[in-house]
Point group: D2
Chain length 309, copies 4
Amino acid sequence: MKVISNSPGKYAYVIGPYAEPTETVEPGETFIVETLDAFENRITSPDDDITQIVTLPFVNPLTGPVYVNGAEQGDTLTVTIHSIEVTRDYGVSALIPEFGGLCSTVFTRTLQPPLPARVMLHPIADGRVTFSKDLPIAPIPYEPFYGTIGTAPELEAVSSLSPGFHGGNMDAADVCPGNVVHLPVNVPGALLHIGDGHAAQGDGEVSGVATEIPTRGVLTVDLIKGQAIGTPRVISDDHLMAVGSARPMEDAARIAFYELIMWLESSYSLDRLDAYQLCSQVAKVRLANMVDILYSVVAKFPKAYLPVR
Amino acid sequence: MKVISNSPGKYAYVIGPYAEPTETVEPGETFIVETLDAFENRITSPDDDITQIVTLPFVNPLTGPVYVNGAEQGDTLTVTIHSIEVTRDYGVSALIPEFGGLCSTVFTRTLQPPLPARVMLHPIADGRVTFSKDLPIAPIPYEPFYGTIGTAPELEAVSSLSPGFHGGNMDAADVCPGNVVHLPVNVPGALLHIGDGHAAQGDGEVSGVATEIPTRGVLTVDLIKGQAIGTPRVISDDHLMAVGSARPMEDAARIAFYELIMWLESSYSLDRLDAYQLCSQVAKVRLANMVDILYSVVAKFPKAYLPVR
Amino acid sequence: MKVISNSPGKYAYVIGPYAEPTETVEPGETFIVETLDAFENRITSPDDDITQIVTLPFVNPLTGPVYVNGAEQGDTLTVTIHSIEVTRDYGVSALIPEFGGLCSTVFTRTLQPPLPARVMLHPIADGRVTFSKDLPIAPIPYEPFYGTIGTAPELEAVSSLSPGFHGGNMDAADVCPGNVVHLPVNVPGALLHIGDGHAAQGDGEVSGVATEIPTRGVLTVDLIKGQAIGTPRVISDDHLMAVGSARPMEDAARIAFYELIMWLESSYSLDRLDAYQLCSQVAKVRLANMVDILYSVVAKFPKAYLPVR
Amino acid sequence: MKVISNSPGKYAYVIGPYAEPTETVEPGETFIVETLDAFENRITSPDDDITQIVTLPFVNPLTGPVYVNGAEQGDTLTVTIHSIEVTRDYGVSALIPEFGGLCSTVFTRTLQPPLPARVMLHPIADGRVTFSKDLPIAPIPYEPFYGTIGTAPELEAVSSLSPGFHGGNMDAADVCPGNVVHLPVNVPGALLHIGDGHAAQGDGEVSGVATEIPTRGVLTVDLIKGQAIGTPRVISDDHLMAVGSARPMEDAARIAFYELIMWLESSYSLDRLDAYQLCSQVAKVRLANMVDILYSVVAKFPKAYLPVR
């Protein structure tokens, strides 16, 4: 299997059409992707000063762009995630001043002094994440996913910290092994970017940082020719999901539910108003992130309620 | 056991300190509460015209106020929900013009024509809700909860359609049998109001209406004297929860997480920044509603990660 | 002329239908209203501790309710403001912790420590407000208005700190001498409440407090029978205005423009899409407040562009 | 004087660091810039179908990038606007489905059918804009400005439809002849982009489109070396202004006021809390746009209240 990994110093900090592809794959191909953690693997001690290490815009390095042969504007790229392994024995989380869900930020400005910076290292072993050696907190299951996965917009180059219609930094825990992610193809080759591995994350990623890890994952890409989507979708064994990313957060939820309902109409013969009313009885929602440049909300339709044909 | 049920025509459409209590209970007392559905049990056919039946502000009738002896400002009222039975063989859902998550409303105004009104009746039997006799959708489990539960603010009388710091129309499916709801006491007697039974509801209640039912429930109220809370809390076997209600939706999430973190600090000896960073790894979030006068978000801390003492 | 002034200790802190009217007036009647400042005239020194004086919900005392004979649900109450005199030789402004546009609040929660409290007294004389004796800032013109003016909702009692469809704490500088305010009538007598005099205020009232003054004003009320409005309107010599109050702020702007456009259609024979497109060329907007329980935005149509008949 | 005008087919639809500069200028140089209208000058009749002409992302063509010799990251670029002439005898406005302030959009999704598309041509002559030949509306003064002006971000390429910290599509009428715009320099040469001339625009640009014109303007650029700004600033004879662009709209207002207050502190020796409290008495606000990818708000400090030294 091909192993895709950017050269040192060549990671992508934007998702766009301007960088040279680092690798080319075929539709249907299964390959390995290696990613750095969101801090470029540069945090090795709780004494590290994150404000020195995190220097915008060089945060959240992505592997790619990966060129998918035959992908054309108007197609949908599917990414099946088979596995995500952590390639280090610890994850990192942090408090970053002016970043997070319960502090002022460059968007939600206040005159108050910022919260302090700090770093925690979380040992990972045997499928468990240890939050802290000092606090008597039970181990957290290792449930890895990619915080960031996206395809290039046609003209824009979007910060790797931002989610959007192209995917990106959604921080949706549903982008995990076993699931299939659907992304829009806006440019030839789709230009897939992946990174931001998380060993564990709470809904909303409230402090702004999950248990950040470098990863080695196995993926298969494929194409749905001539079928466009409005925003990223995810399919699991149990759910159809659509991801909305916007501010304010209600707009993210609206985008997600709109896409989900259009999907139920176009692919499952449910009238859109029936689907709307049914979602109001059975849908699930994950708040993926409340901290990034746009907020992300995942609307989920349980397959158990799909119309029986 | 006492049975609490408002007289016909005497339901509460606001939660406030101005109405006479309909009943008085003692701390520790277990009693029965009967509630009408959100449309006052007036919808009996899918041909009913909801725009004639739903005439603001007389929507979402509540049972109460219930006066809890000994409750004083600064206390917390606890409500343990033992059971919620549906007292009719069907639930009602609807599309209401200018109300819902995917349409313009009196708050999010547009110049577009509104969506049509419509009503669906959902048969309920044997613990199952049938979405539609005409559509081949699998039955939905009967998982009842109170959409609306709250205590009177000190001076304000708040629409029964609005959630807030006083509880109210949170539409949080966690207000269900087996769980304990904590509400602030702002006035003597607390003045508990309950209603808006739901047999089933999707996260976000996206079309604006769940499977609305009249109910008969068994509750126990009690007081935590001299301990105030900032926003409603819910305790289940597995989770500590706090409910934030606000617009935009990110403010609801902020309120919920803030209360949860303050709770972890004050009751579980977790430093607030530790709690913040831990929530970012393990918290769960329920989007309760994206349709009401304020949006409601439930932040949940799994008890499994409470510090072991 | 009648002088309307609440008795000490009898001020209104909510706008609702539950308090007894303090006075009755006739349609067409001109009368005097006396109001306290938002802090109940209790701040007399820059050394006063505002956190002791401002004890929610007893902030922003209003004069009223004033019962207008003949006012019935579905009418519009018009209030012509002839003059607003300050009845003290200084105004007060302040920084109030957890209140304001550039700090965290009970709605926009953060974990950061709050900004400090502080009080400033602003001498007023000869039509000029002195910002500070210590800072070399030019005098500010005395341009008084009522921050709060509203009529009772049908069932709700709304904090005097909140604006809404009923008017209330809009903090719109257009509620000033020379202008006519239109308010909805939801209950018999309309129940007018007035207060929160400002000697000067910046757009948005960014720190949360204007130059707060007690006032003596001359008003005329009248009724437009059988004509309802959707949200408060203001008419000046030059502009038709509609006030939207909501969160997020874009919803306030949407409400204001929607009402303005409906008004242009119903009263000035402009097709609503023509009016929409015309507003996009000529409308003015005032950000009234970015700090209250809801934000208020005033959409203004210059009368110069009304269709010539 | 140099005349800067992109070749046909070579207009910029993103503001970023990836396109080759079309021209180079020196600090202090005065030159002419020619711009197309937002629809690429392709609308010539009210019968044109805007949905065929406006094909995203190829909307709002910009002239540039213009390379300013000597500009380095951390500098501020100043652009003095001397004049903006319209180079056609009419402007264009339109209703674009799923775009505007009072309709659902790709961000604020609803299930309602969209508003119709339509186009209006507005004759311009003798300093006056005629809204419509069919409606008896008084002529609108020709008050031109650039809707879009910005410098390249370091890594991102941002749609020409979006405003942001880099400037961009702010639709702020203060970017007009007589005023000086300050923009951040993030890359060598700054890479200035200009376009989207407006002959007239209402605050908020509520329908999404102003009176769009092609222009010929005279500008002078210069550099403030080694002084960075947080968001665009504008200086007029009377006001210091800062532009915030964000969603929700309150965040745009927060950014604008934060920058204004920091400016008053750093350049005018006003303590930031004094400036905050003073702005609450005297600031003005322009709602620049309520329709673009981010909303833009201009916070204005009247120079009359600057401390007298």
